[in-house]
């Protein structure tokens, strides 16, 4: 169905701290580094391709890798949810709905990171 345009409001109150686009570019750049590391390290350095349980656990015990993986988790969650937010904002909901979306995504994001870190610890404990 065609969307019938509504009257345009003036742009918002002014510059935010960091435009979400810039946030997306910065986190995207970080991901380029971290994801490349994640992929190369896990699938190219480890001879077996880091697939089987023992390999994975051994890999995760390396403190450098813990830092890299946690940083990766944080940035990927931020980047992914900011992307979801950008898409949702393009629907043209009301400003109130947009504020709610932002809030919900913050909750989801923190939950994701907490889940990821907890999972990390649990895996290492279980092994």
């Amino acid at each position: 169905m065609a969307t019938e345009p509504r009257p345009v409001d003036r742009p918002g109150a002014g510059p935010r701290m960091v435009p979400s686009f810039v946030g997306q570019v910065i986190s995207g750049a970080a991901l380029l580094v971290l994801l490349t590391a994640h992929m190369i390290a896990q699938h190219f350095i480890v001879p077996s391709g880091l697939r089987f349980y023992e390999d994975v656990i051994a890999w995760l015990r390396d403190p450098v890798m813990i830092v890299v993986e946690v940083a990766f988790l944080v940035f990927v969650t931020y980047h992914a949810l900011l992307g979801v937010r950008a898409i949702l904002f393009d629907f043209g909901f009301s400003e109130r709905t947009e504020r709610r979306i932002t809030l919900v995504l913050w909750v989801v994001g923190i939950a994701t990171i907490v889940y990821g870190v907890t999972l990390f610890a649990a895996i290492l404990n279980a092994a």
Partner: protein, 139 residues
């Protein structure tokens, strides 16, 4: 050769190109930049879905070696490997196009978007091909 009125008030299924939210994904009439926009959005949504799937699957590691290695056996079957190739391609397209979006979108190279998109696609295709060969060869 007289001009004539043929028909009045024909109802139509819809406009020639969709507007609104579905219009984002309608490739008709789009040019290269528009296709990049569509591709970025689709791969982005796909990657978010994969992220959560990935986090879910990793929880199997908690259940110990047997559960995990059984899963890995399944994941090494050809249909799953094909999904891996798809995932790799999505990451490459999104990531390389992301470089273009970052460079162009901050006004650093405001007028090279087309060349950058083509470059991103070429590199993505090449790396995806190499990756696919390796994935299916089981290294």
């Amino acid at each position: 050769m007289a001009s004539t009125i043929v028909e009045r008030g024909r109802p139509a299924a819809g406009p020639a190109r969709r507007r609104g939210v579905l219009g984002w994904f309608d490739p008709r009439g789009r040019r290269l930049g528009g296709l990049a926009f569509i591709l970025n959005r689709l791969t982005g949504i796909g990657l978010v879905a994969y992220l959560y799937l990935h986090l879910l699957i990793l929880s199997m590691l908690v259940q110990g070696p047997d559960a995990w290695d059984d899963f890995v056996d399944v994941a090494l079957s050809p249909p799953f490997l094909a999904l891996d190739v798809l995932l790799l391609t999505g990451m490459l397209v999104h990531g390389l196009n992301g470089i273009r979006v970052g460079l162009v979108g901050l006004g650093l190279v405001a007028s090279r978007q087309k060349a950058l998109f083509i470059a991103a696609l070429v590199i993505a295709a090449f790396v995806a091909l190499v990756g696919a060969l390796r994935i299916f060869a089981g290294e």
